[in-house]
């Protein structure tokens, strides 16, 4: 429970802090508030879904596949 609280605080702090720092951006989208948070979350979910629903059905075989 304490871990959950700490983690939530960290999340919150990272979001709030963004509005107090001066960003030096190379691409326009970096200026969008919470861009990095959204990017991290979405990329993570896409990796999970891609691995589970695209790659796994293609490449998973029985454990002794190459021995047969």
């Amino acid at each position: 429970m304490r871990m959950k609280l700490l983690f939530s605080l960290l999340l919150f702090a990272s979001v709030v802090a963004e509005f107090f720092v001066l960003k030096h951006v190379y691409f326009p989208w970096e200026d969008v508030p919470l861009f990095y948070a959204a990017f991290g979350f979405v990329a993570f979910v896409l990796f999970m879904l891609g691995a589970k629903y695209v790659l796994l059905p293609i490449v998973r075989r029985g454990e002794t596949y190459y021995d047969d």
Partner: protein, 598 residues
């Protein structure tokens, strides 16, 4: 110029011989002394070109000492020290010797200044790597080692042909910037790419590396691929193709790592993805990106070794390495857990750890170059590292469901080795200026800006939030014992198909051929020789039979039957003069035709 130090590789090769003769504590002491002596030797060597040997009409350079080779050389010595400490429990003297041979050939390669000596070290590295795979105890070690050897022989051939063509075209064996263009450069490019595990050429890493012993793994995970990065840095900086190769190889292994059950295979995919950052940095080719690649090599070698060592310790103590067999080890192996987490946090690039100060240089270089797509791919790869290695490895081994294992904590020498690596991971993260002083170009880069720290934290923390949600709702991919196919499918199944062709149709043709040549033909000649004239007559009648029909045909068949029955019959049978005249005329005609057509 004569100098008082030795070529750096010599210390290792001499050590590799010496440990074969020693036993017990003395051997352990010598093992630890070798990288230390090597390092002292290295730092007393001034920059410049040393130890040149004339060979045929070329010059072999065993000491091209500049900032680039010194950076690689220094971290190779450090990791060798860490790895030999980690491997002190190994009893087989051959194991120590081969490990040092691998280190030494890596060191030799980064200091060699010509293609010929580089090729020699390249091949020694392939042989030493193969031997290290074969020393693995698993059932799959022998065939995996063989595949490793074949892949590297193949790569070596590309190197050899490329080098020969290059030397012939330029008239010199010197190894420096080559750049893509000629056939020779492409051959060298591909041979470097095989050792650097480019997409499609990468499958030997997850195939062979997880088969090594825990101690051998630390050496394997370090030298071959990073030496490939080094030669790319020397020969192909600023090659645009490398940017895309790097960006792709930073992303695709993450998917494979996520569905992999064997944690050392997860780390093998993690290695490929880390190489992606380096290769992309070489491709961008600006001083910042080259600095980024070199600093990433240094940081990566250390945190990757730390992760490999922690998994090695788990394998050493439990004999298990699959997610499905592990879990809950944090209680029985708390120190190993802590070291693994340091490695995991470093590879994920959290502030205050080494990954943060090196990865960001390559990303910054992509940003300055306005390479939007590359930047996005590398950013995705940062999340991929965090997810596939940073979270998955420690979580599955030390936390997750308790598998009921309660092994002892890792042996002291393993803990010491992990401790040294962990120390450097944190030290470099906290004081990056130590790292930046080693880089080939002057560094004008500040990783610890408020914005950079905040955005990185946001990126990673929200990634972690996604993970927690997946765990909370039970959406994680269930781990199962399985074989996940990769590009090695093509040559493993390809080889099986080849063997089928060899064993079935090809073998049948060969059988028929050998029967025809060795059985039927001599038998026929023997039969023919018993009475050539009668045999010719039978042959002539057979031809007649072929063209005839009806009653006539029956008559001829009858005659052949009779002839065969009385064969060989009377050899001295007299032939009419007319026949002889006919033969003579035919021969003369043949002679005339040959003479005329000639």
């Amino acid at each position: 110029m004569t100098i008082s130090t030795f070529p750096p590789f010599m210390v290792f090769f001499a050590g590799a011989l010496m440990v074969l003769l020693l036993k017990g504590r003395l051997r352990s002491a010598v093992l630890m002394c070798i990288p230390v002596i090597g390092f002292l030797n290295l730092i007393s060597t001034p920059e410049g070109t040393h130890w040149t040997v004339h060979f045929l009409e070329h010059t072999l350079i065993f000491g091209k000492v500049d900032k680039l080779s010194l950076a690689f050389g220094a971290v190779y010595h450090l990791i060798t020290l860490i790895a030999v400490i980690y491997s002190l429990h190994v009893r087989e003297r051959g194991h120590h010797s081969v490990s040092l041979l691998l280190s030494g050939s890596g060191v030799g390669a980064v200091f060699s200044g010509d293609l010929i000596s580089l090729f020699i070290f390249w091949e020694i590295m392939a042989v030493a790597g193969t031997l290290l795979v074969w020393m693995g105890s698993g059932r799959g070690a022998a065939p995996a080692g063989m595949r490793y050897f074949i892949v590297h022989l193949f790569g070596g051939l590309f190197f050899l042909f490329g080098a020969l063509l290059h030397i012939q075209a330029t008239g010199t064996a010197d190894f420096g910037f080559i750049g893509l263009g000629s056939l020779a450069s492409w051959l060298l490019f591909i041979s470097f790419g095989i050792n650097c595990a480019w997409p499609g050429l990468h499958a030997w890493i997850p195939d062979a590396y997880p088969q090594t012993t825990p101690a051998g793994a630390v050496f394997m995970w370090t030298f071959t691929t990073k030496t490939a990065v080094f030669v790319l840095l020397r020969a192909f900086p600023g090659t645009e193709l490398l940017i895309w190769i790097g960006a792709v190889m930073a992303v695709f292994p993450v998917f494979f790592a996520l569905i992999e059950n064997n944690l050392r295979r997860v780390l093998a995919y993690g290695l490929i993805n880390q190489l992606g950052f380096m290769v992309a940095g070489i491709g961008i080719g600006t001083p910042l990106s080259i600095n980024g690649t070199v600093s990433h090599v240094i940081c990566h070698i250390l945190y990757n070794a730390l992760l490999v060592m922690s998994m090695g310790a788990v394998l050493h103590r439990t004999g298990k390495i699959h997610c499905t067999d592990l879990g809950g080890l944090c209680k029985s192996m708390p120190l190993t857990t802590a070291f693994c987490i340091v490695g995991a946090v470093s590879i994920s690039g959290f502030p205050l750890f080494s990954g943060f100060v090196s990865k960001s240089m390559v990303l910054e270089a992509a940003g300055i170059g306005q390479m939007a797509m590359v930047w996005i791919l590398l950013m995705i790869a940062v999340i991929g590292d965090f997810q596939s290695v940073g979270i998955k490895v420690p979580y599955r081994a030390f936390f997750a469901h308790d598998a009921g294992l309660s092994p002892k904590e890792a042996p002291p020498h393993m803990l010491a080795a992990m401790g040294i690596a962990a120390f450097f991971c944190i030290a470099v993260g906290v004081y990056p200026s130590v790292l930046y002083a080693m880089l080939p170009y002057p560094v004008d880069f500040q990783p610890y800006t408020a914005a950079h720290v905040v955005t990185t934290c946001q990126l990673l923390l929200f990634g972690a939030l996604a993970y927690l949600l997946f765990v909370r709702f039970g959406l994680l991919t269930p781990e199962r014992r399985a074989t996940n196919l990769d590009a090695d499918w093509f040559y493993r199944k390809g080889a099986q198909a080849f063997m089928w062709v060899v064993n079935r149709p090809a073998a049948r043709v060969a059988q028929w051929f050998s029967a025809a040549v060795f059985d039927r033909m001599p038998a026929f000649l023997a039969w023919f020789g018993r009475n050539p004239l009668a045999a010719l007559k039978i042959g002539g009648d057979l031809i007649l039979l072929f063209f005839s029909s009806g009653q006539h045909r029956q008559k001829i068949a009858q005659r052949i039957k009779q002839e065969k029955e009385i064969f060989p019959g009377d050899i001295m049978k007299r032939w009419p003069v007319g026949t002889s005249v006919l033969w003579v005329t035919m021969f003369l005609l043949a002679y005339l035709l040959v003479y005329y057509l000639k």
